[in-house]
Structure formats: structure tokens, C-alpha cells
Symmetry: C2
Subunit: 684 residues, 2 copies
């Protein structure tokens, strides 16, 4: 007996509920598409037979075991079908029918009843409101999309799509380009099976080499994060996440009823999990095409072979913007290339053979071969302009790549195709020979960049780390009191600046004398969260007189005011904080601090717990990261201390559920350490 | 007699120097392409006749007046041909031959001799090393590019391309898509005619509606800036500037011998001149297609009509990233739209009709019509997915746009085309009907964004302003002395913080007492340019004792040290500066200041002179622009004072050629004003 997603993708016997032979109906479309399925498809229909095959009026009447019910009924008949599937013990159903949560409250209520019937009966549910699923290897086409988007080559790309029609468009593109697809999964309203589950299934699926996600929302974000991190350790995951803008969110809610997540946190979580973002569904497919057809790139150095100087220049620029390098080749390698190309060409890289048509068929393969074997580049991109799109050049490219692979050379070769339309059949031939190509430099560069980011995420170090034991939080602790909060933080490994909260000027003067001058005094009052905005922070107090004067001022600021005394520290200002995201759970934030810099919003998020390595990466990704290394003659900051603080904040949030927010702002970082001089804890 | 570029584009009689009837030669290709020219083409050739037409051995032998010599000879024969053209008084020559500056020093010397012969003989030169020129309206095809990239519709796009083969690829694309081209100009090595001249010509050319520039370098950058500003006042100029990255620059130098400009300054100058940048040559063409075929957009509100929710979401996101808005429609308009679309669709915008194939032909035109007439959007984009790419829908779209124009409605309609390849003929038909379309949302959104930026640049306010009279710069003035420099700046309208330079502690103490405490002391010494890095700046000196101590420290810092005394100011730190760019001349810079912020490089450039309006735009474009409006309860800064400083710096650089650099850093901006507290002038 197959179960769960295995029943969805590898059923042995299928019931098509709503089968029909009336043209232009969903029931007919599904029936036709299921013809290629090697097992039996039993029609369930109001007709006595469909296409000459005996049909059953009710799913419950179908004799024998069924692994998968494909449901193409009107919305109001779906509940009964799922109840019947439950009674019959069918492990999975694909519900294509629309008219559920996406149409509003009434549909949402109906959807809830369907899900509840499925769950209580042990039926896993795909959809509703989806175009179906495909397993191109079986083949299984339990969808309304015609045909399979896979050429003669064995597949490798698996697509999960939330949007039905967009998914169908991607599917059609895949067919036109004979892209190597493995599985297609239209998630629709995702009423039952979560994105996390789908991802976990595809991770274990040997036919899936690259996973493409076209999503407007993520169900169970924290579960998704965990599964995604495990998945990208072994295979690439590329995601086109839509619904980022206000209008995009509104449109997504309009048609999928999904709630939008905090985009910054969602994006950070994706990056942290190794999921590589693509700017659009098309860009996602482009990169998948490169990854599925060629070996993974192992570095960022690109060798370009071109017959057009201008296109070489543009591709170099666009690759640079994708963090790919087009390095100048060594003198020895240039000399080797120069023996082949005209004297007015260039071997520096881009390798520009100039428009010498008559020699294209010889030069393209020869130059690619030399570059791929040189050890000086990690990727080779031939630009195939105009007459380079000829059968002879295609044949030469196919041969040279075959020869490279036969010799164990795994440098990927991606084509950049720039010809008039009439040469499109040659581009198709190139792709059928296993060399993927994209039109014009911009898409080529973007896909190469995405492919490299995917490859870099594979097997990225992710060692297991024991979390710090969470500090006890007795019910008597008042974390709004800076003193008690500092003790609590210390127990969690977060050492803030030595401070004393004082009730009068004498105490303040004593404390300042003990810490040493210059001193800092801060007003402490539950209603003063932005102290500096109301003159509640006094810096650089040089002596006892200045401290007493400041203390007196601050104590008078408001009834019940106390005053916190610290020694004045110095260093670069950072912020470190943590919040609980409704979807991703505990999240850590690091960024540049100081009132002037805060308006720049130079911050970075990560799902907690985090390790120091990732925090360092976050800090390095800040726009102002140069401050870490010491700018204008300053010493580099104590990176280990700074990272440790963020790690401890993450562990604290994970370990103490009562804490909903931590804010260390500013943290003064210098070569000596990283010290929070102001801190705030919010509890639930 | 036609002259200059007019002779190039509108010749009456042409000599083809190097004409041939041997297949696959440049001479034959040119001869064939010139067949469509309505005037006489006289072959100059070693053969006695070309294609049955009597040929002359030498250009000098050709009887009668010639307006344009088209030269397709080997490089070493070009000089003689140009000398002959000079003798014969031919006003212009297009030199396609390669083998000049692009191949190295020897070629550069040959090119110089050719240019010098042309200039002394009054011959204007296109190229060398180019693929030629076309005037699609004449028609004139004096190029090696086959055919004319223009459909039946009258043209409008003029292309200037530096790269030959890239230009040819764009040309081929134009032919495939029947794009409305007016003129094609391959600039090649730009040995004689500058980009500024070409631009000035195309500005006055009534057939040119949109100018596309595909450039790796800009000849005469300041002249180009001036012409570009005048041109974008009347028609759109879109530029794809390549050679931005290190590899791109290397490649550009390899094949065009052009020198790279400072990218940040070049980009800023383009924006200031109203030239809109495209990310690639293809993206440039995409936007030109939108602009040439449809009326200019007059606002950024887009109405989307779609049959796919998912694609509507993605297009909304991508438009948002281009600063286009997809506004929620008014309840009244939604009600009107809802009468037409299914109840499970959405009229909020995107207007989602859902995949109801049978009604596409009726719904697409009807919904577009309502949106275009609603006054609620400035652009309408139908997404044509799958079966929407049908002849019936195309016909309906063509009719509704015709009807809108007949009623004086000028809302542009751009198609977003997402279908399988088999439907491409329908996309072509749509474009032939004057409705441009692009495949998939990403290119559509980018082109719409570029088109709107172009439209916004047209006729942008650019009033004439009298520059401030430049201050006198007597030979005795030493601008490295902060005191003399401050007097000089004051004469130019730049009032820096009141300061005194002192030689001893008593003087410093007196000055500080006069300005009031807290005081600031700064070391003054010719070798100390980054004073703060060596402890040469002392802030917050509270009293006489502190001032004396600091003065004594600073005077001891180095032999010959003096000390500058100021009152301590406060405010947000900005930098204002000016430099002389080798290409663009005097350039003004504004940005955020302060050591912590400087590492962020949050600065913006403009070609001087600038007006206050543009400086305000520059300040608003800073990432930290929120600081202008007062963050965290601070008052907004005195924008007028801040802008005035930058205007004055620009005028000073323009008026006083001896000044090569001015650096006001920091400028303390508050609600009371903007005061430079440190300044530096570099003279040539």
C-alpha cells in the first residue's frame, strides 16, 4: 500500500471521480491525460461508461484497492467524494475542483469540512483549486495540463506551483523547450499537505535533481525552513516567491486566500536555508534548465567565447552583477588561444574570435575545449550570435561537451543564444544535445548566477550545536527593570555594560566614581522607551559635579524616575535583537546602530537558533560591513564577541518561550569586545 | 548640397567604394543592400563594371556630385579613398572597414591619418570599424545588415550602436518583430563624429521618435551631456551602456580602444540629462518598442487585465519594483467590472477574469475599454496567457485600441504575452496592429518602467539660471590655509563655521572664550588631511582649562602645527563636494557624512552647474534621506541652506578653473541652517 505523497506520485490504480467523455470538460481532459498512465484508471461518473470503459456511480462502489482518487467534480460534490474515499481507505486524493477558500468565507468553510473528512479518514489531499500532478517518469498525468514537459532525456526538474495557470504556462514552456522535468505538483489552496511535506518528499525522490517552487505563500514556515535546510544540503531548491508588493499581496489574497508573511524575514529565512531566490517564475526555470542539464558549477570564474565583442562586453557586465567573475586569462593560456583566433581578436577573456563565419564550426568547439580544460575557469559560456547558430557549430559543441564528459571534465557549458528567429531549430537541437541555452545575455547571466548560488548552497557546512541552557525565569522577575533584565541576560551569556540603577543623586555620584569618568546617566522609567528623544540620556559626564547635575535633572524628568549609571564606552554602534515571527518563530536581527544610521535600515535577519558562522555572514552582508574591519584607521571590531551576542540572543529566544522580544541597542563593538549599553526585553 | 549627418542619412547620389559582385564579400553585400536606394549608386571598383553597372577605378574619376561615399575597402586603402573624397568635395563617408584603433597602436596611427585627411578636406566620417547606416524611410541601407528592420508602419526608433555585431543582432530582432525603426547608425570607432553630434542630429530629425543608444564609451562626455539634456526635453533617449564591470571594461578596450569613464559620475550625468538607462541592449529595445507604438504614459498607475491570478501577482510585484503602482480600483469601477467577470474573479486590480476561455474574446476588449476610460489608471496591461493568444482576442484588442484612439483616449496598452510557441503568429499580428507585446512579466514590467521614466523626463523643468559671479583668486591666496580658504569660499557664497587659526594656547583660549563653549579644536598642518584619524580633532571642550590642554596637545602633534578654534555645532552630518571629471568637467557631490556613515558611500553626483531643485532631488535619492525630514523627533534640516551650498560649490567649480576639488565635510545641517565645519580646496 502506498501512502501520502508516494500514493500521489506513484499510484498503482487510480479512480477518476467526475470522469466524462463530453468534450471541453475537466472530466474529459483528465481522462485523456490519464491515458498514458501504465496502470488502471477507473472512471467514476454519472454515465454508465466513459470512452467505452465501465464507470461507477460512486467511488464507494469501485471494487478493489485504489491508491489515488483524482477529483474533478463541482465544489459542492467534493465533500461526498472525499468521505467515500475515506470509507474506502484510499490514501490520497488530488482535488482539482475550484470554489473553496479562494472564493471567500463560504468556500473556506466548505474547504474545512473537506479537509476534516480527509484527515479523519486518513486521506491525504492535494489542492483543492489546482491543476493536478504529474510524474513524468511513470508516466502519470493527473492534471489538466496537456502532455508531459519532458524530452527524450531523463528528467530532473520538479516543479511545485501554487498558481494553477502560471504553473500551466511554465509547463507549456517546458514542453516547447523539451526541458527535463521529473514531477509537477500544483499545490493550489494547500488545504492539507504543507510545503514542508512536499519538499521533504522531493528531497528523498531520486528522480528529482532540482526543485522549483513557484509560491505566493508558505504554509508552516518554520517546518518549511527546517525541511528546506535539509533539502538544500543535497539538491538545489530555487524559489520564485510572488506577492511581495502591496498590489501583489492583494492579488494573492484575492485568488488564494493566503496570508502574507513579513517579506524581509521570509527572504532571510530562505537564504539561510539555502533556498535560492529567482526574480520570476521564468528566471527560476532558466536556472533549473542550466542545473538539470549540466554538472554543477564549482566556482564563479566564467570563460566567455564570443564572435561579438559587444555582446561579450555586455555579458561580462551582467555576470559581474551576478557575482560571477570573468577573469583575465594567464599569458600561457592566452598564447594557446591566440594560435587559433585572428590577430585582431582577443584571448584575454571574453575570448573574441570576431565574426569569421567560415571558421565558427572549428573555433567554437576548440576554444571551449581549451577553456574547459585550462583550470582557469569554472563555467564556459559560448555566445552564439547570428551565423554561429548553424547545424555545424551545434554538432561541434555537442561533440566537444561529450568528449569533455568522457574525460571526466565537469565544467558546465551554457549557451547564450542571439540569433534571428529562423535559427530557433538549431537552439532546440543544442538543447536536445544536453547543452542548455538561453536567449540574449541578461537571462543567461541571471540563470548562471542562480545556478552558482544553488551549487554553493549544496552541502554548506551546518554542524550541530548544543544550545545554551536557557536561564530560569522566576515569576518574580521584572524584566522591565534594567537591573533584573541585565541579570537575566547574563545568565543567558549576554553580558551588558556594568550599570547601577540609582534612586538619588548621591547614589549616582558614588556609582559614577566607582565606574570611572566620563560617566553616562540614563533615565529609567517604564514610560520612557526612547530615552534619547526626551533628553533622558546624558553622555560624557566628566566629573562628580557634572554627574550630580545630570542625575538631578533626570530624576526630575518625571515622577518615579530613577537613573542608570554606566562608564562611557566607545566603539562602533551595532544593534542586535530578536523577535518571534508568527510563521518562522524565533528570529535574530543584527544591524548597524546609532540614531543617524538606523534610518538606513541596514539590518539582516535569521531564523534562530543561529551559529556564529552564520552571524558573521549576516554582519558581512550589511551595507556598512566595512565598519567591522575598522575604517579610517580604527582597529577591527571583536567579531567573535559580536557574533556570540547574536548567537546567545537566538538561543535565549528558543529556550525561553515567555520572551517575545529582545533589543540590544546600541551594542558598542571595539577591538576589545562587544558590549550592549542599552537593552530591552519584552515578555508575553 | 547636403552636409554632415544629413549627407549620411539623406544622400541623393552615393559612391560605393570597394563595390564588387563577388559573393560573400563586403563589397557585394553593400551593393546588394544599396539596391533599394531610390537615387543613383556609383560603383568604385577594380572591375570595369559591377553587376552590369559601369564602375570607376578611383573615386576621383566619378563624374558629378556625390553626397556620400560608402567605403568597404581593406584598411590600408581607406586613406587614399578619403583623400580622394576630400579632393572631390564629398561631404560625408561611411567607413565600414576594420583594422584601425581597435587593433592597437598601428591601427590607431592609421586612423589618425584618415581622420586628419577627412577633417582637412571637409569630409565627415562615420566609423571606421562599423556595419554602416540605414535610413528606413528613404530607404537607404548603406550597411552590411540585410534588409530594413521596419514593418509596414511608419518608423520611429533610431538606433545608435557602437558595437557592430551587437547592433546587427538588435537589427535582426527588429526585423523578426517588425519593429518600427527610423534610422540605424553604427558608430564603430567614432573617430570623427561624436555621440553629441549624432544625438543633436536625431533630436532635430522628425522621423525619429525614440532614440536608442548602445554604447561602450561616450565621446566628448560634456558635449554629450548638453545635447542629451536638450534632446530629452523633446523625445525619449534610452541608453544601454556597457563596459561597467572590470571584465566588461577590459573587453570594451580590447575591441573598441575606448577609455572607460567613472561609472558613478557617468550614470549620474545620464540621469540628470534625462537619459534613461536600460539594463541591456534587449531591455532598451523592449522599452523603445512600447514608446514607439503607443502614446506616452502620463502617470504610474497600471491596470492589469489577466486570465491568470498567479501571473497577475507576479506582474504586480515586478511593476512595483519598477516604481509603477497597481492601485486598488474604486468601488464604483469594481462594480462596473464585476458585472462582466465571474463572481470568483476579482475586480480589485489586477482584474482577474479567471480562465474562462469561452469569454476571452468578449472580456479582454471590454475590460480594457473600461479601465482605459476610467481615469483611475495611466497604463493598461493585458496578460495574454495560453488561449488568450487567439485571433479573436487579437482582433478585439486591435478594435478597442482603435476605438480608444478615435475618441482621443491616449492611455497606452502594452501586452504581456505568455503562450506556447505555436501562438507566436498571434503575437506578431497584435504587434502589427500597433499593440506592442513582450513575453512574460519580467520583460514587460522592465519595459513599462523604462517607458514611464522616459516619458517623465520629457520637458522636465529646466529653467535658465544666472551663475553666481566667481570670486577673484589672487595669486597670493593660499587655499591650503583654512583661513584664506574660508574667505575665498565666503566670496563664492559658501559660509563655513566661524573659525580662527591660532599659533599658541593663549590665542586659542581667547578665541574659544569669544565663540563660547563647548569648543572644538583642530590641528592645522599641510600633512594632516585626515585629522581625526591621528587624534587631531578635539570635541566638546567645556571650559578654558580643557581648551588650553587640547591646544597644547595639538600644537605638539607635529612641528609647525597650528590650531583651528570653532564653537561646537550640532546637526546631521552631510558631505558636499566637487571635482573635475576628465570627461564631464565640474561635478558636484552630496551625501551623508560622519565617519560611521561614510563607509556606506551614500552619495550622489551631478554635472555642474546644478540648480537647487536638482540638488534636492539628489538629497532625496540618498538611502538615508529620512534624515532630511528629521528622524526620532528631530526637526527637519534646512533644505534650502543645504541645497544652496551645493549650488554654490558647482558654480564655483564652473567659474574658477584653477580649483580642481572642493570638499565640505562634514556640513552640519539642522533646522537653523547648514554649516560646513571642515573644508578643503585643491587647486591645479
Amino acid at each position: 500500500m502506498t501512502v501520502g505523497l508516494d500514493a500521489v506520485f506513484h499510484p498503482r490504480r487510480i479512480a477518476l471521480v467526475g470522469a466524462s467523455d463530453r468534450p471541453e470538460t475537466m472530466g474529459r481532459l483528465l481522462w485523456d491525460n490519464l491515458r498514458s498512465f501504465p496502470g488502471e484508471v477507473v472512471p467514476v461518473s454519472r454515465s454508465a461508461s466513459v470512452d467505452g470503459v465501465r464507470a461507477y456511480a460512486d467511488l464507494a462502489d469501485v471494487p478493489g484497492e485504489i491508491d489515488l482518487a483524482v477529483v474533478g467534480l463541482p465544489a459542492d460534490s467534493v465533500l461526498a467524494a472525499i468521505q467515500a474515499a475515506a470509507v474506502k481507505g484510499i490514501p490520497a486524493a488530488v482535488v482539482l475542483s475550484a470554489g473553496f477558500a479562494e472564493i471567500g468565507d463560504e468556500g473556506a468553510r466548505l474547504q474545512e469540512r473537506v479537509v476534516s473528512a480527509a484527515r479523519s479518514g486518513g486521506v491525504r489531499l492535494v489542492g483543492p483549486n489546482c491543476f493536478g500532478v504529474q510524474n513524468c517518469d511513470l508516466p502519470l498525468n493527473a492534471s489538466i495540463a496537456p502532455g508531459s514537459p519532458t524530452g527524450d532525456e531523463r528528467g530532473g526538474i520538479s516543479l511545485v506551483t501554487q498558481s494553477g495557470s502560471y504553473g500551466m504556462a511554465v509547463h507549456a514552456l517546458g514542453r516547447d523547450e523539451a526541458m527535463p522535468f521529473a514531477k509537477v505538483y500544483a499545490a493550489g489552496n494547500k488545504a492539507d499537505i504543507t510545503d514542508a511535506e512536499t519538499l521533504a518528499y522531493l528531497r528523498e525522490d531520486p528522480a528529482t535533481l532540482v526543485i522549483c517552487l513557484l509560491l505566493e505563500s508558505i504554509s508552516d514556515p518554520r517546518g518549511f525552513f527546517t525541511q528546506a535546510r535539509a533539502t538544500t544540503a543535497v539538491k538545489p531548491v530555487i524559489a520564485a516567491l510572488t506577492g511581495r508588493s502591496a498590489a501583489g499581496k492583494r492579488a494573492a489574497v484575492s485568488h488564494t486566500a493566503a496570508l502574507a508573511a513579513d517579506t524581509a524575514i521570509r527572504d532571510a529565512a530562505m537564504t539561510q536555508a539555502g533556498v535560492v531566490r529567482a526574480s520570476s517564475g521564468l528566471a527560476m526555470l532558466d536556472a533549473a534548465k542550466f542545473l538539470a542539464a549540466q554538472p554543477m558549477p564549482t566556482g564563479n570564474r566564467v570563460g566567455i567565447v564570443t564572435n561579438s565583442g559587444g555582446l561579450g562586453v555586455e555579458l561580462s557586465d551582467l555576470l559581474d552583477a551576478e557575482q560571477l567573475e570573468v577573469p583575465e586569462l594567464s599569458p600561457g593560456l592566452q598564447a594557446e588561444l591566440n594560435r587559433l583566433i585572428p590577430s585582431y581578436g582577443s584571448a584575454r577573456n571574453p575570448v573574441d574570435m570576431t565574426p569569421i563565419w567560415s571558421r565558427y564550426a572549428a573555433l567554437y568547439p576548440a576554444l571551449i575545449d581549451i577553456l574547459a580544460r585550462s583550470g582557469e575557469v569554472d563555467i564556459v559560456i559560448p555566445i552564439l550570435l547570428a551565423r554561429a547558430g548553424s547545424p555545424e557549430v551545434i554538432q561541434g559543441l555537442a561533440s566537444v561537451v561529450t568528449a569533455l564528459r568522457a574525460d571526466g571534465n565537469t565544467i558546465p557549458v551554457y549557451g547564450c543564444w542571439v540569433t534571428e528567429r529562423a535559427r530557433q531549430p538549431q537552439a532546440d537541437a543544442l538543447q536536445q544535445a544536453g547543452i542548455p541555452c538561453l536567449p540574449w545575455p541578461e537571462r543567461t547571466a541571471a540563470a548562471a548566477g542562480t545556478a552558482l548560488r544553488c551549487a554553493s548552497a549544496i552541502g554548506r557546512h551546518s554542524s550541530h550545536r548544543e544550545l545554551r541552557p536557557p536561564p530560569a525565569l522566576p515569576a518574580t522577575t521584572d524584566l522591565t527593570d534594567p537591573g533584573q533584565a541585565s541579570d537575566f541576560l547574563a545568565a543567558a551569556g549576554i553580558k551588558v555594560a556594568a550599570s547601577v540603577v540609582c534612586d538619588n543623586t548621591d547614589q549616582a555620584a558614588d556609582a559614577a566614581a566607582r565606574f570611572g569618568y566620563p560617566a553616562v546617566l540614563k533615565a529609567v522609567h517604564p514610560e520612557l522607551s526612547h530615552k534619547s528623544d526626551v533628553g533622558g540620556v546624558r553622555l560624557g559626564l566628566a566629573d562628580d559635579t557634572a554627574v550630580r547635575k545630570a542625575a538631578s535633572d533626570l530624576l526630575d524628568l518625571r515622577a518615579g524616575c530613577r537613573v542608570l549609571v554606566q562608564a562611557q564606552g566607545s566603539g562602533v554602534e551595532f544593534v542586535i535583537g530578536g523577535v518571534r515571527d508568527p510563521g518562522f518563530g524565533p528570529v535574530v536581527m543584527v544591524g548597524l546602530g546609532g540614531t543617524a544610521v538606523e534610518v538606513l535600515g541596514d539590518v539582516c535577519f535569521a531564523v534562530a537558533p543561529v551559529d556564529a558562522e552564520h552571524v558573521e555572514w549576516m554582519l558581512r552582508s550589511l551595507r556598512g560591513s566595512a565598519l567591522l574591519d575598522g575604517s579610517r584607521g580604527a582597529e577591527p571590531v571583536h567579531l567573535v564577541a559580536l557574533c556570540d551576542l547574536a548567537v546567545a540572543v537566538g538561543d535565549l529566544l528558543v529556550g525561553v518561550p515567555e520572551v517575545s522580544e529582545i533589543d540590544l541597542n546600541p551594542v558598542l563593538a571595539s577591538s576589545a569586545g562587544a558590549v550592549p549599553v542599552d537593552w530591552r526585553i519584552v515578555t508575553v
